[in-house]
């Protein structure tokens, strides 16, 4: 195409690029001395390895240590929170797409509340208030106390050690409710992206409201919802770090612990940043794959 943009794009540097490079150079000059002094910092990466894996003399094997365990806890926490958020998002998203005033009022209130409150505040609110209620209603404490060793092992693998289960459940509830608000909006948008004619065809065929959702609308909404929902799951992974404040031994909390013991600030936080980055990029890579596959499906 010939136009003002075409010739512009062929140039290597635009004026904006020059400005950006100049700014970058200025920053290097400004921060340079500090960076050189930081060069005198004595790096000690062996600390990281020690806290990643440890030798277990009983089984004569290497076992994951606190950092790696924190990593696994973050994964478990994210998956459970994601499941809870998805269920909430699905139910609330369907309600939000309905014409009934009450349904819209309930979902609107929920979404606005969850989105306009800092997640950290929500964590405290849920942990000290709702968390106690939830664990009491579920009878979690008694269940944990009466648990046999085999169940305890399964629970430890799937969620958290029995002792930490009540806190873990509160954390999952908090993250699930918080992220569920975003998923509600994603699901609602997905449902509303389905053309009106699809609803009408389902109606004219005598399908019940439930069947219209189940067979006609939701499968089509899914194409819009799925990529966005995976993106939201990445947010869940990152946001899960806030539950460190209620002593869930996830990655950030473990980082704080190791730092308190070793004072190796840079090594620890660089490592933890890389671990979050690894987890998130695997997910966004997966999301891109799903998106591509869905796009192919539509183009058929």
């Amino acid at each position: 195409m010939i136009g003002p943009y075409a010739s512009h794009q062929r140039r290597f540097f635009s004026p904006l690029d020059v400005v950006l490079l100049a700014l970058l150079a200025a920053m290097v000059v400004w921060l340079g001395p500090g960076l050189i002094r930081a060069g005198e910092y004595r790096w000690n990466w062996s600390v990281i390895w020690r806290y990643m894996v440890r030798y277990d003399p009983v089984s004569d094997r290497m076992r994951p240590n606190v950092l790696l365990n924190g990593f696994f806890t973050t994964i478990r926490l994210s998956i459970w929170s994601g499941v809870v958020a998805m269920i909430i998002g699905l139910v609330m998203g369907v309600l939000a797409s309905r014409r009934r005033l009450l349904a819209r009022l309930v979902t609107r209130t929920y979404v606005e509340f969850a989105r306009n409150t800092p997640p950290l505040v929500l964590v405290f609110l849920f942990y000290y208030f709702l968390g106690q209620q939830i664990t009491a209603i579920l009878g979690l404490e008694q269940w944990v106390a009466a648990m046999d060793p085999r169940t305890a092992r399964i629970v430890t693998i799937l969620a958290a050690p029995p002792r930490q289960l009540p806190a873990f459940v509160s954390a999952v509830a908090t993250l699930g409710i918080f992220e569920g608000a975003y998923l509600t909006e994603i699901v609602r948008a997905g449902i509303q992206s389905v053309p009106k004619g699809q609803w009408e065809a389902g109606y004219a065929l005598g399908l019940s409201s439930r069947d219209r959702y189940r067979f006609v609308v939701l499968p089509q909404a899914w194409r819009v919802v799925l990529p966005a929902a995976v993106g939201q799951f990445i947010s869940i992974i990152k946001d899960s770090s806030i539950v460190a404040v209620i002593s869930i031994p996830e990655l950030t909390f473990q980082g704080l612990e190791v730092m308190a013991a070793t004072y190796r600030t840079f090594e620890i936080w660089i490592t933890i940043a890389l671990m979050y980055f690894l987890l998130s990029s695997i997910c966004s890579w997966g999301a891109r794959g799903i998106e591509r596959r869905l796009a192919r499906h539509v183009a058929r």
Binding site: A204, L205, G206, S208, V216
Partner: protein, 259 residues
């Protein structure tokens, strides 16, 4: 209003009873537009009524009121003895009794042709999968698409999609078929195949209400024609009469523009 219906079998005992009864139906949209301004008509069994009129005259709204896609503000609609009111069960019965074909086909794009037609049979009529599929194949044979049962809608031409949509609307064995500008979204070369299917249906004695811009087809297949303008039925009469010698000035004026 009583035009003789020269269709063969007359074994239905309540043949004289209208299958569609519409009295003084008014429909106003939220923006204040009065889409239907007190329309009334009785349609007999096996009758084909064609509805013509300028765009925005209320043709589609009238059709959509008949199966409850739009709710009339006032007036009375009875389909095959079932009043269309706020009773859920009645509304469901009417949706089963009246098949509808849309301008934009509205096939379910994520399902195969076969599954599109199976769905309502299984979910609404409670048919088994095999039973539904057998009926589906029969319906597809009827519209000449028996070999496309496993295709997806996007793989079909517009004309084929609309024939599938007709087969789908027939799947619940409705007593009445409503056609909402079924050929308006089609390329000219595909209109014929869809009209052929509709013609066959009329010949078999299906009660049909057809909103259309195909005046030739309307005159040929319609037993009666309704000319609608500004939400009112300006003229109702035998199709040949309405098309060849309309009584009303507005009908003549409209027809002179489109014929």
């Amino acid at each position: 209003m009583s035009t003789t219906i020269d269709k063969d079998d007359k074994d239905d005992k309540d043949d004289k009873e209208p299958i569609i009864h519409v009295r003084n139906v008014v429909k106003t949209f939220g923006n204040g537009v009065r889409a239907l301004d007190g329309v009334s008509i009785d349609i007999g069994r096996r009758e084909v009524v064609v509805v013509v009129g300028p765009s925005g005259s209320g043709k589609s709204t009238f059709l959509r009121c008949l199966n409850g896609l739009e709710t009339a503000d006032s007036g009375e609609i009875v389909i095959d003895g079932i009043p269309l009111d706020h009773n859920r069960k009645n509304r469901l019965e009417i949706r089963k009794e009246a098949g509808m074909v849309f301008q934009q086909f509205n096939l379910f794009p994520h399902m195969t042709v076969g599954r599109n037609i199976d769905l309502a049979q299984i979910r609404v009529r409670g048919a088994s999968t095999e039973e539904a599929r057998r009926n589906t194949c029969e319906l597809l044979t009827k519209v000449g698409l028996e070999d496309r049962v496993d295709a997806y809608p996007a793989q079909l031409s517009g004309g084929q999609q609309q024939r599938v949509a007709i087969a789908r609307a027939l799947a619940l064995r409705p007593r009445v078929m409503l056609f909402d500008e079924a050929t308006s979204a089609l390329d000219p070369e595909m209109i014929g195949e869809v009209l052929d299917v509709m013609r066959d249906l009329a010949r078999e004695g299906m009660t049909m209400v057809v909103v259309t811009h195909e005046m030739g087809f309307a005159r040929e297949v319609g037993d009666r024609a309704v000319f609608i303008d500004e939400g009112r039925f300006i003229e109702i009469g035998p199709a040949a009469e309405v098309f060849d010698n309309a009584k009303e000035e507005r009908t003549r004026e409209f027809l002179s523009k489109v014929l």
